[in-house]
Amino acid sequence: MLNVTDINVYYGSIHALHDMTFHVNDGEIVSLIGANGAGKSTTLKTISGLLRSRTGDIEFDGHSISRTEPDVIVRQGLTHVPEGRRIFLSMTVEENLDMGAFTVREGKKQALDDVYDRFPRLAERRSQIAGTLSGGEQQMLAMGRALMIRPKMMMLDEPSMGLAPILVSQIMDIIVELNKAGTTILLVEQNARLALKISHRSYVIESGRIVLSDTAENLLNNDQVKKAYLGG
């Protein structure tokens, strides 16, 4: 589904990603784990076209997208729920969802109903201004908004950030459900335990480099990972 080959990304003179290569198979949940500043968000932004790699290639669903504009990538069925949710705070819940469906011509109503089915909380609050939602509701809205295009693949950047544990497990359950319903998932998390629990495979990133990759199960039992990311 997604093949990232040898990408190098810079912020001015800062070399943020080094020769990064990884892939996500159709139907998988793959996670990228790593500490603050490791380059996880940079990786997702490069895939969705907000940043450009100087080298290598990114292939999604059989097409190279490394020179494709972000709005065109969305139309190809790849959606990105950014770090910090980035919902439109001044708009209502429903207006946010409508923005999510910006590229959708047909079946908008059905997509909206599906999102409300999955997130009944959003349905109750459909005319509330998004800026007044709680953190958990904002995360649901960010995910719901990304689901409006019925994506083939969804990238999530730290969906657990700032949420109470009970909400975190709710969000994780929803990610698993979405995956079971056929959406391929690329998940970025600082909370490695959480990510490894629901992923099939995972990549560990340190200072812009992939230093380890394995099945989630193996990584959970890896001493190095235990020590660095799972608190012993």
């Binding site: 972000p70 950014p82 919902i87 439109f88 705070l89």
Partner: protein
């Protein structure tokens, strides 16, 4: 002259300020740029309308030519001068805008000389409301402005392009992730702002029939003050700011003297910003964490 007349005059000139302020605010809302060249678009629009009328073309054609020219000019300026700098420091963008403004004024000076041209009378007559006479120019100005503002509001609220504008102005990156093409949205914003400026130019010339290279400078500054007063970046703010400045100016001219008008306008701005830094209808900027 009495209060009602002054108010009507104020709404008349205020509507024109509002049309121009809309251009400042739409552009600011979307690229966070104070487009100093916007006032000079008015000048360009005035010259195009003047030459078209001078060549004997019908008013409608002259206005249309002016709109088309300004739309192209605005879009080209954004593409050539502002777009390459979009990711650089804001100050470079601001200085470029000032540069474009000077460029347009000097090109006009070179092409048409500094001598003012007399804009022909295209609206005449008037009618009585009770025993009060209202000129046709005033009526046309107020009605045309009100219709344009209403259309713009509907456009921004209901069309896909309008939605894209709202999304880009609130969060450009998030808008891109919704599948919105930011470049096209920005071009469209400049197009609409410049088109409104062209119509403002013709309406302005109907009341102050002189066309000269720096005519957009002071008028542009006052419309910009209207934009800041109403709330920079806000569409309804531009309308409120424009009308406020227009009425304040008319009242000052009516009851004090013309020489005080500009001083009063600037004082109004300073006092408002002291009381409410984001302007009358401006939203407090939400700090992103």
């Amino acid at each position: 002259m009495n209060l009602i007349n002054h108010l009507i005059n104020g709404i008349h000139v205020g509507s024109i300020y509002a049309l121009v302020a809309l251009g400042y605010n739409m552009v600011y809302g979307i690229v966070k740029l104070i487009n100093f060249a916007h006032g000079d678009i008015i000048m360009a629009g005035a010259y195009v309308a003047f030459f078209a009328l001078d060549a004997g073309l019908p008013t409608v054609v002259a206005v249309a030519a002016s709109v088309v020219f300004c739309v192209l000019l605005g879009v080209v300026i954004e593409k050539v001068a502002y777009r390459p700098l979009r990711k650089s420091a804001k100050i470079s963008l601001l200085i470029t805008a000032i540069g474009i403004s000077l460029l347009l004024e000097n090109v006009a000076q070179k092409l048409f000389s500094a001598t003012p041209r007399l804009f022909p009378k295209i609206i005449s007559g008037g009618f009585y409301l009770g025993d009060r006479q209202i000129s046709m120019t005033t009526i046309v100005t107020i009605v045309v402005s009100a219709v344009l503002m209403a259309l713009l509001t509907v456009f921004v609220k209901t069309t896909n392009a309008g939605k894209a504008m709202r999304a880009v102005s609130e969060d450009t990156e998030a808008a891109q992730l919704m599948g919105i093409n930011v470049d096209n949205t920005i071009s469209m914003t400049f197009a609409i702002g410049s088109g409104l400026a062209a119509i403002a130019a013709v309406l302005y010339c109907c009341s102050y029939p002189q066309v000269y290279p720096t005519m957009g400078a002071l008028f542009g500054i006052k419309a910009f003050i209207a934009a800041v007063l109403g709330g920079i970046g806000s569409i309804p703010g531009a309308v409120v700011g424009g009308l406020t400045i227009g009425i304040a100016e008319a009242l000052t001219k009516g009851y004090l003297s013309s020489t005080w008008a500009d001083a009063i306008v600037f004082s109004l701005l300073i006092v408002t910003l002291l009381l409410k830094p984001s302007g009358i209808l401006g939203r407090k900027v939400v700090e992103k964490v």
